[in-house]
């Protein structure tokens, strides 16, 4: 009798083990999603797909991109979830992305997907430039609030503005590329020359300028809207300003890394990443998501936010990224010390 029982238990255990073995697919997911949201994203995904474990590799946009490029011949990542589209375009140009058409692709705003069919990447949400303006410090220094990009070149702000370094920060790059698109190349560089005179520091990440301004270390931080609304919510005395000329933006997007060993699980994740539930998740932080019908305004952000986005030419930005950064570095990196 006991013999039977042990036999039964053993086979039961074997079945259980086998099923957990199948269940525990591990996906290595590279991401630049803000750290404060990382756990939330994984948890929501696991509500629907408890059988897939996400191993996050998170860093700022520039670093994740550098990491992916460095690993080009020896990819570690299975999926990229939440990386700037401009970065994904660079990866695509390296032939690193596996095209895949997720379920429900047709619901997406055409701007939010790769133009190829099947697309190499699909969008999640847009993040856009925003200015964090510390009202307390502004009052101390007698500064008026800027309303446009051009205002920032006003000499009254000399030494009060911080912005992200375009080489290391995706936000920094979208600022620079949007100015070049808004004002044209020549005028764009002239604008940056003038702005450079007012810049206190080019910072490593897109978040830091807003937190910097929020903490009163500077008055104006050129950052992006998600960080701006969070910083305000954390209690920083800032106003969020959307410049009148329009704002540069980029989208967070998802893609499968070519050659992944976990293709099924990767596809499952990409499918989920464009589902309504995912879009609602993105919308908790970002005003504009890839499925237009789901976008709702976010607290602390102006209602007409979506209309302020410029018509961004991502292909141009991706293919000119290297040239723009070269030019930018020549003009502003280190030159500031020569004064």
């Amino acid at each position: 009798m006991t013999k039977y029982l042990t036999g039964a238990l053993a086979s039961l255990a074997a079945v259980l083990l086998a099923s957990t073995a199948i269940a525990q697919t591990e996906l290595t997911v590279y991401s630049a999603i803000e750290a404060d949201d990382l756990e939330k994203y994984a948890a929501r995904f696991n509500e629907d797909h408890p059988d897939i474990t996400i191993n996050w590799v998170r860093d700022s946009t520039g670093i994740v991109t550098a990491k992916l490029l460095a690993e080009k011949n020896n990819p570690v990542a299975d999926v990229v979830w939440g990386l700037a589209a401009t970065s994904l375009l660079v990866l695509k140009a390296e032939g690193m992305l596996e095209p895949y058409e997720p379920a429900g692709l047709d619901r997406l705003d055409p701007k939010f997907r790769d133009t190829d069919t099947p697309p190499a990447w699909v969008g999640m949400d847009a993040w856009a430039a925003a200015i964090c303006f510390n009202t307390v410090e502004a009052e101390k220094h007698g500064l008026t609030a800027p309303t446009s990009w051009k205002d920032l070149a006003d000499p009254q702000y000399r030494g009060h503005i911080v912005m992200p370094h375009p080489a290391s920060s995706g936000t920094g790059f979208l600022d620079v590329s949007s100015w070049l698109q808004l004002f044209g190349e020549e005028e764009g560089w002239a604008y940056m020359d003038a702005l450079h005179e007012n810049i206190k520091e080019y910072q490593h990440s897109g978040s830091k300028p807003c937190r910097h301004a929020g903490a009163g270390e500077s008055v104006i931080g050129i950052s992006f809207e998600f960080r701006a609304s969070r910083t305000k919510a954390d209690g920083a005395p800032i106003d969020i300003i959307v410049p009148s000329e329009g704002i540069g933006w980029d989208m967070e997007a998802t893609a499968i890394i070519a050659g992944t060993a976990n293709e099924e699980a990767a596809k499952t994740l990409v499918d989920w990443s464009v589902s309504d539930k995912a879009m609602e998740l993105y919308n908790e932080g970002y005003a504009l998501v890839a499925v237009p019908s789901i976008s709702r305004p976010v607290e602390h952000l102006p209602e007409d936010f979506a209309s302020m986005l410029i018509d961004n030419d991502f292909e141009w930005a991706a293919n000119n990224r290297s040239a723009i950064l070269d030019e930018w570095t020549k003009r502003y990196d280190g030159k500031s010390e020569a004064q």
Partner: protein, 673 residues
């Protein structure tokens, strides 16, 4: 017996020198020397070689490898022409113009001045081989087939640069003032910091070794505190002290802490203990007799100071100067946090690699950073060798005499330095506990909620503990075993010399350089060791290697103090060496072994430079988290994480002191001599 003709020098008869057969012990020791030597080759020499060769990889557009055909509006095709031929004809680009980096793009429309994307002409393009890739829009084409495009699509074609080897990266470096300007910045900062640190540390060490000042042990403890924290922590404290909202900002009289001033103050903080230790050792070996002689000659104390004290400590001062200089010039964390727009070499490497994904230029900056580091290392080695001979001279130890007025002045000096050190740590602690400086000063533990921040959360802290633990254990075993084998092996001269060289090399390699070299070497799919890439193993390997030299030297010193006759006795007793090693050498050296392991542990907790290129999210580290949290602007949590490292290292130090004291007490019976 008539051997009296002593002076008739007969030379050695021709023939080969007798060589002893190698016994089992000899083979085993050779095996270990070779294995640990190979470890150093794989973990140091080969990565450095990979980096060096990477710095010579350049990218440029090879026009001769692309052909283009053009049709008129009616569809009549012209001849296929190489872009190189067209360029020669037009004189459009010089070879310098065609130099690029890995991310470069070149539109072939540049070769057709009359090109219009509205034109009804059609175009064909092909690379001459599959390597000559190009982009249509964002699609990478790797094929030597002709591809036909309309004008509007042809506008979107971009050539990609191809790799070759050459010096171009170096000429690019030196023709870019933003880049090579950093050399001057780095040297300036390092020189100024060195002078200030030496000045402060000499006074401090003098007070502790040569006066009857009170509270010496307390001061000694405070002087060691900076070793327990990452070098970027003072940067964070300085923001709170001297930043725009700093509580001491008026002291700067309008100057900004972000830049050279901040780097120098922070560098003085984190290099202080290193300089202090070296100078203190030099001052502790003074000879009483020299001072008595000076006194009997009625020399003024000022004259005595310059003619006896300073020359006696000169090797210590020189050595301290070079160590400090190297630490500052290779440090990355501090200028990253507080450097503002002031570019220095170590940060340039990071920016080139992380920001611009220009690994080749990162490698070039690394090679340039190697120069001052290697120079400083060589000088330091020469000086250290001289000092050893000074040490071995028999002398009467110096006994300071009380002098109430002078002792009080020295006390004041030490209090100032101690205040500087403790205020930086205290500021960080305060920052970690304040909700939102400067607007909301309520105390909170929210900044310790790392899981809500960039940098890897609490997992990063546990990873760091794990990494430091492994480094302490594995590092100590490798370092001590290697030192024993190389010190106690018979014969095998060439192997020993090579091993000693490899063991000294890490000291000359800045952490940033090592980290970057590891990317090139271990992330190469052709390298079978690439399985460790992105794991805890590579972090432990890089950290053990980075801190190998000091551990090796410490172990050698201890081993040299052991009677060299033990090995002959053991082999005459026909006992294998490992019995001697296990029963005698290790127990006798246990205090030293503990010293090496605590050194490894503390440094593994605080290091940023090597691992910043090598961690993955699964293996994020506390020290890197401090950096990343600061990057993201979450500076209070960065301070909190820095303090976690401080508590941990302080606790480890206390445990180490307790363990050492216990061992000493237990073994006192046989240590009295």
């Amino acid at each position: 017996m008539s051997g009296a003709s002593v002076q008739t020098a007969t030379a050695l008869p021709p023939g080969r020198d007798t060589r002893l057969a190698v016994d089992r012990d000899g083979w085993i020791k050779r095996f270990f020397v070779i294995v640990i030597g190979l470890y150093l080759v794989g973990a140091l020499a080969l990565p450095l070689y990979a980096m060096l060769s990477k710095s010579f990889v350049t990218y440029s557009f090879d026009l001769s490898r692309y052909e283009v055909m053009r049709s008129d509006a009616e569809g009549n095709w012209g001849p296929a022409r190489s872009l190189a031929a067209i360029n020669d004809e037009l004189g459009r680009f010089t070879p310098q113009d065609l130099a690029s980096n890995v991310n470069g793009r070149l539109a072939p429309t540049e070769f057709f001045p009359d090109f219009s994307f509205r034109s009804p002409e059609r175009w064909r393009i092909r690379g001459l081989d599959a390597e000559s890739h190009y982009l249509v829009g964002l699609d990478l084409i790797r094929s030597d087939e002709w591809r036909e495009l309309d004008s509007n699509t042809f506008r979107r074609v971009n050539l990609r640069p191809l790799p070759k080897t050459g010096m171009d990266n170096y000429s690019a470096y030196f023709s870019n003032p933003a880049l090579f300007g950093s050399i001057g910045n780095s040297v300036t900062i390092a020189a100024i910091s060195t002078v200030i640190t030496l000045f402060l540390a000499f006074g401090f060490a003098y007070a502790i070794n040569r006066t009857c000042m009170r509270f010496k042990s307390t001061f000694r403890m405070i002087a060691m505190m900076p070793i327990l924290v990452p070098s970027l922590l003072p940067g964070i404290a300085l923001v709170y002290m001297f930043g725009t909202q700093g509580y001491l900002t008026p002291l700067l009289m309008g100057h900004s802490i972000y830049g050279p001033i901040g780097i120098v103050i922070g560098s003085v903080f984190f290099t202080f203990p290193h300089a202090f230790l070296i100078i203190s050792t030099a001052l502790s070996i003074a000879d009483q007799r020299q001072y008595e002689a000076a006194e009997s000659l009625r020399a003024s104390s000022w004259r005595t100071f310059w003619t006896v004290t300073i020359p006696g400590a000169r090797y210590g001062l020189i050595s301290a100067a070079f160590v400090t200089f190297t630490l500052v010039i290779t440090d990355f964390g501090l200028p990253k946090v507080i450097g503002g727009q002031y570019n220095v070499l170590a940060v340039d490497i990071y920016k080139q690699v992380i920001g611009q994904q220009n690994f080749e230029m990162g490698a070039v900056v690394s090679v340039i950073l190697l120069v001052p580091a290697v120079l400083a290392f060589v000088v330091d080695r020469i000086v250290t060798r001289r000092q050893v001979s000074l040490l071995s001279a028999r002398s009467v130890p110096f006994q300071p005499r009380p002098d109430r007025k002078a002792d009080r002045l020295w006390l004041l000096w030490c209090i100032c330095v101690a205040l500087f050190i403790t205020s930086i740590i205290a500021t960080c602690q305060a920052a970690a506990l304040i909700r939102f400086w400067p607007y909301d000063l309520t105390p909170t533990l929210a900044n310790y909620d790392f899981n809500r921040m960039d940098g890897g959360g609490w997992a990063a802290y546990w990873n760091s503990l794990q990494m430091a633990g492994w480094t302490a254990v594995v590092g100590t075993v490798i370092v001590f075993t290697g030192a024993y084998m190389v010190e106690k092996i018979d014969g095998f001269r060439s192997g020993r010399t090579l091993f000693q060289f490899l063991a000294m090399l890490p000291m000359a390699i800045p952490g940033m350089v090592l980290g970057l070299a590891y990317i090139f070497f271990f992330n190469d799919p052709a390298n079978p060791a690439n399985v460790i890439y992105g794991t805890m193993v590579i972090l432990v390997v890089s950290t053990v290697t980075h801190f190998y030299t000091v551990g090796h030297l410490t172990a050698l010193t201890a081993l040299k103090q052991i009677d060299a006759e033990f090995e002959p006795v053991a082999s005459s007793l026909r006992q294998p060496f490992w019995r001697l090693f296990g029963r005698v050498t290790v127990p006798v050296c246990l205090p030293t072994i503990l010293d090496i392991s605590i050194y490894m542990f503390v440094n593994a907790m605080t290091t940023v430079s090597a691992v910043v290129f090598l961690y993955s999210t699964k293996t994020a580290l506390a020290s890197v988290a401090v950096l990343n949290m600061d990057d993201a602007g979450t500076i209070a949590p960065a301070a909190a994480m820095g303090m976690m490292i401080f508590y941990t290292n302080a606790a480890a130090r206390i445990l180490h002191a307790m363990a050492s004291r216990r061992i000493m007490r237990r073994t006192q019976a046989w240590r009295v001599r």
